[in-house]
């Protein structure tokens, strides 16, 4: 009886560790991707004109 209970506890512990680790990884990558995408969009909008001028100048030269 006790052995069966400890087996069940071990199984639950194992599944909890794995599912929380994988969920954590998914959340981490998801949030990081969203943050980077947002930063890049803002950055592109802000410096779009400057990049265009820079590229144009390089082509002219």
């Amino acid at each position: 009886m006790l052995n069966s209970l400890t087996n069940t506890a071990t199984i639950i512990l194992c599944y909890t560790i794995v599912s929380s680790a994988l969920a954590g990884a998914l959340l981490y990558y998801g949030f990081r991707r969203c943050f980077l995408q947002r930063t890049q969009t803002r950055f592109s909008k802000r410096f779009a004109g400057r990049f265009a001028r820079y590229r144009l100048r390089r082509k002219v030269k």
């Binding site: 069966s4 400890t6 087996n7 069940t8 071990t10 199984i11 512990l13 194992c14 599944y15 560790i17 794995v18 680790a21 994988l22 990884a25 998914l26 990558y29 998801g30 990081r32 991707r33 980077l36 995408q37 930063t39 890049q40 950055f43 592109s44 410096f47 400057r50 990049f51 820079y54």
Partner: protein
């Protein structure tokens, strides 16, 4: 590489959505199969840990195979995309290897009566985890991306020697770890209900790994693009200062 490659940008969202959809679909199925699977005659319900341990172990090796392919492609074509494909994987591989070791340890504590044994299979899997960690450390220790990619590609290919050692460790050495029960060719010595649980869990974890990899690759490419944009901006400011 100032932008993400066009084919990748077009493919990334469908890949992420399909893998998320398949993962959401296969997870309840695999949970159902695991609950319905017959208990082992010796281990009883403790065998349910192996439905996580075995797919995690397979995926830890699969991740390394993908890394080896990316490293070879990078060394042949010297394209930054393959470098990013290589660097996006080690963290995911390390995660699966760590989960394999934790699950195995929990199972071993109850089944073998020991948390850890200096067994060939266990030690080679631990070495794989250290190799993943070494690649992560190496990828963050260079300022220049190209040098870092090159170093990671070399280390990945050198570490690839460990893969056949893990696979054949139970045959080459006298091992406490059991040998393979599922064979690609020939009959497998596993009950059908156990096989269904194992394969469905493998499918759902593979979908999750594909989703994590596509996100990680996108992050790596976006980071590189941002770094290059910052570099261009700094050059632009420097030129402006010179003109003044």
């Amino acid at each position: 590489m100032t932008k993400l490659p066009r084919y990748f940008r077009q493919a990334v969202l469908p890949v992420q959505l399909v893998s998320l959809w398949l993962f959401g679909l296969s997870l309840p199925v695999s949970i159902f199969f695991i609950i319905k699977a017959v208990p082992d005659y010796q281990q009883h319900d403790l065998v349910k840990i192996l439905y996580l341990h075995v797919p995690c172990a397979w995926l830890s090796l699969q991740c390394y195979v993908v890394m080896c392919a990316a490293a070879l492609l990078f060394l042949f074509y010297n394209h930054s995309f393959y470098g990013a494909a290589l660097k996006a994987m080690p963290a995911i591989g390390a995660l699966f290897t760590m989960l394999t070791l934790i699950c195995g340890s929990l199972w071993g504590a109850k089944s073998w009566g020991s948390w850890w044994e200096w067994d060939a299979r266990l030690v080679s899997e631990l070495i794989l985890f250290f190799i993943y960690c070494a690649i992560i450390i190496l990828s963050n220790s260079f300022k220049e991306t190209e040098k870092s990619d090159y170093a990671c590609a070399i280390l990945t290919l050198v570490g690839g020697v460990n893969l056949p050692v893990i696979k054949f460790s139970t045959q080459w050495w006298h091992s406490l770890h059991q040998g393979s029960t599922i064979h690609l060719v020939g009959p497998s010595s596993l009950a059908p209900s156990m096989m269904h649980a194992l394969l469905s869990m493998l499918v759902s974890l593979s979908c999750l790994a594909a989703l994590l990899y596509s996100l990680s690759l996108q992050i790596e490419l976006l980071t590189r693009a941002n770094r290059q944009r910052i570099y261009i901006r700094l050059r632009l400011n420097y030129k402006k200062a010179q003109e003044r």
